[in-house]
């Protein structure tokens, strides 16, 4: 083969090499010029359940599992170090959407509700608690759909009392959990304690009586009887404090003793302390029992240690 023929044969190969080099250079240049990929591009899209459900074609449970597994991977990838609200916002949204999809596809998915309650609320590095309201919404759906799993209302009640300071709602959800099979005895006690904190003494007493009636073991019955005595004591203490407040308002000074309240007609009689102790009144008008401290959940002022809850 002479030189011109060889040269002609090499032309295609040469052209390919030149074009490949051009491609590499142009690609690098285009990548430099392209706008940065927005984080939102990788967000889990907010499809409504009406769209997600049909596209699972009878395999809803499996698709729900895949969503749930993805949520677990995201939660695991967060690490233990607290992030700011903004920095962790992407994962918060993803967790909420994935678990919403999982439970929309399979409303009976108890594990997804429980995981939502435990994994979604996040305390941020900049003094906030996020994803609480979303977790509460999911758990509320879970209570409706899985009325047989005590852990779902229990987790909901925990979020309501711990993060939101809604003790009356928490008390009711603890009560729902306490009545379900498998619930440990302490859930009922938490219910009464939360209800007292929320101010609903009547509900707490009703629940304690119901729990006493259904308790089969003697030790549990004794515990509930003790709780009923605690509730009676709380009712008495509130009556005394209310009488003391009325006394102070009318006379312009605090009552010196319980007897002064009775003499002034603010209190019909000094109630009998159900534990065998006696009631005392402080100069500030705060009542207490000599036998037992009051049932209280301390340190909550509507939010966790002053954190902003979202």
């Amino acid at each position: 083969m002479d030189f011109p023929s060889r040269a002609r044969a090499a032309v295609p190969a040469f052209a390919v090499v030149v074009l490949a080099a051009c491609c590499a250079v142009l690609r690098a240049r285009a990548q430099q010029l392209a706008p940065a990929v927005l984080e939102a591009t990788f967000d889990i899209p907010a499809f409504p359940a009406e769209v997600v459900r049909p596209f699972s074609f009878g395999l809803r449970s499996v698709v729900a599992d895949l969503m749930f597994l993805e949520a677990i991977q995201i939660h695991g990838g967060r690490g233990s170090k607290a992030q700011t609200l903004e920095k962790g916002g992407h994962d918060d949204r993803a967790l909420n959407r994935l678990l919403t999809y999982a439970t929309d596809l399979d409303p009976k998915f108890a594990g997804a509700y429980r995981f939502a309650g435990n994994a979604m609320p996040r305390q941020t590095a900049d003094g906030k608690v996020t994803n609480v309201l979303q977790a509460v919404a999911l758990l509320t759906k879970g209570v409706r759909e899985r009325g047989d799993d005590w852990r779902i209302p229990f987790t909901l009640a925990f979020l309501q009392s711990y993060y939101l300071g809604r003790f009356d709602e928490a008390g009711r959800n603890f009560a729902v959990a306490a009545k379900l099979p498998g619930a440990p005895p302490y859930v009922g006690f938490l219910a009464t304690r939360s209800s007292i904190e929320g101010g609903d003494l009547q509900f707490a007493e009703q629940l304690a009586r119901a729990m006493l009636e259904q308790a089969t073991e003697e030790s549990t019955q004794q515990e509930w009887q003790e709780r009923l005595r605690d509730l009676r004591m709380e009712r008495d203490l509130r009556d005394i404090e209310a009488a003391a407040a009325r006394f102070s308002a009318r006379r312009g000074h605090a009552p010196e003793s319980l007897a002064a309240l009775v003499n002034a007609g603010e209190l019909a009689a000094v109630p009998r302390e159900p534990h065998g102790g006696r009631y005392l009144l402080s100069p500030q008008g705060e009542a207490r029992s000599s036998a037992k401290p009051r049932l209280r959940i301390r340190g909550r002022q509507g939010t966790v240690a002053g954190l902003e809850v979202r």
């Binding site: 049909p54 009878g58 449970s61 108890a110």
Partner: protein
């Protein structure tokens, strides 16, 4: 009548013998078994809920591979034979076309039953390895899957009786997809403003098979009992629907000019 049944029985036996040697069937079952076994590893990615993930993946694998067997093999048993012209020597014998079709269906159903039992055994083994058992809901779910497969096989034979294999496969798979969307179709009908769309979707809703009635996989995976009477009603519905499809298939196939 007795001769037709005997002929159907013979055709069914031959179909089973053919399918035992079918590489497509072997591959689909192997794929499903692999998927069921791998669910053990996928389950480890979750927190608790191992049994749920294994059951979901296992039952889905059984259903999907079963549907592929019912459709691809079911279509091949009639439409494929017509296209390859291998059906003529069989039909040249003293045998009605209805008996041929029924025999094909029975043979295919027998093989599907064997494959579902085999895959359920593997699923039970995987669950056992993970420390769980098989509940009655899971058994009911598997039985309803088998009946869904029977319905799909009947649909594949029906479509295969009047059209080409590729079209018959497409129609059958579409029926499977639409069959799981009927509740959404009804919702669409209720929301639609057009009277024509309402009428059309209403007809489709009543005519198409509601395969969601045979879907209790979610209940099984959530360890919830199947509502009383649902399994029986669903099973009878599937049997009746499959029988109806087979009757239409026999009528069409008997009148079809195969030349």
């Amino acid at each position: 009548m007795t001769d037709s049944l005997r002929a159907s029985w013979i055709i069914a036996g031959n179909t089973v013998r053919e399918l035992v040697r079918s590489k497509l069937l072997h591959n689909l079952i192997f794929f499903a078994v692999l998927l069921i076994a791998s669910s053990m590893f996928v389950a480890q990615l979750t927190i608790g809920q191992w049994d749920r993930v294994i059951l979901d993946m296992g039952l889905a694998a059984i259903e999907l591979s079963g549907v592929l067997v019912a459709v691809l093999i079911g279509v091949g048993l009639v439409a494929g034979e017509i296209e390859r012209r291998t059906v003529f020597p069989t039909l040249a014998r003293p045998l009605s076309r209805g008996a041929f079709l029924l025999g094909r269906f029975l043979g295919l159903f027998a093989m599907m039953a064997v494959s579902v039992v085999l895959m359920m055994a593997v699923l039970a083994g995987v669950l056992r390895l993970a420390g769980y058992g098989v509940s009655s809901s899971v058994a009911v779910a598997a039985l309803l899957i088998l009946l869904e497969l029977a319905l799909m096989a009947a649909a594949a034979l029906l479509f295969g009786s009047f059209t080409k294999p590729i079209l018959a496969s497409a129609f059958s798979l579409s029926l499977f997809l639409v069959g799981h969307l009927l509740s959404d179709l009804k919702a669409f009908q209720q929301r639609s403003q057009s009277e024509l769309a309402k009428a059309l979707t209403g007809v489709a809703y009543r005519m198409l098979p509601d395969l969601e009635l045979l879907n209790v996989k979610s209940l099984a995976a959530n360890e919830l009992p199947v509502p009383h009477g649902l399994a029986q009603a669903g099973a009878l519905y599937a049997v009746a629907y499959a029988a109806g499809l087979l009757v239409i298939a026999v009528v069409i196939f008997s009148r079809r000019d195969l030349k």
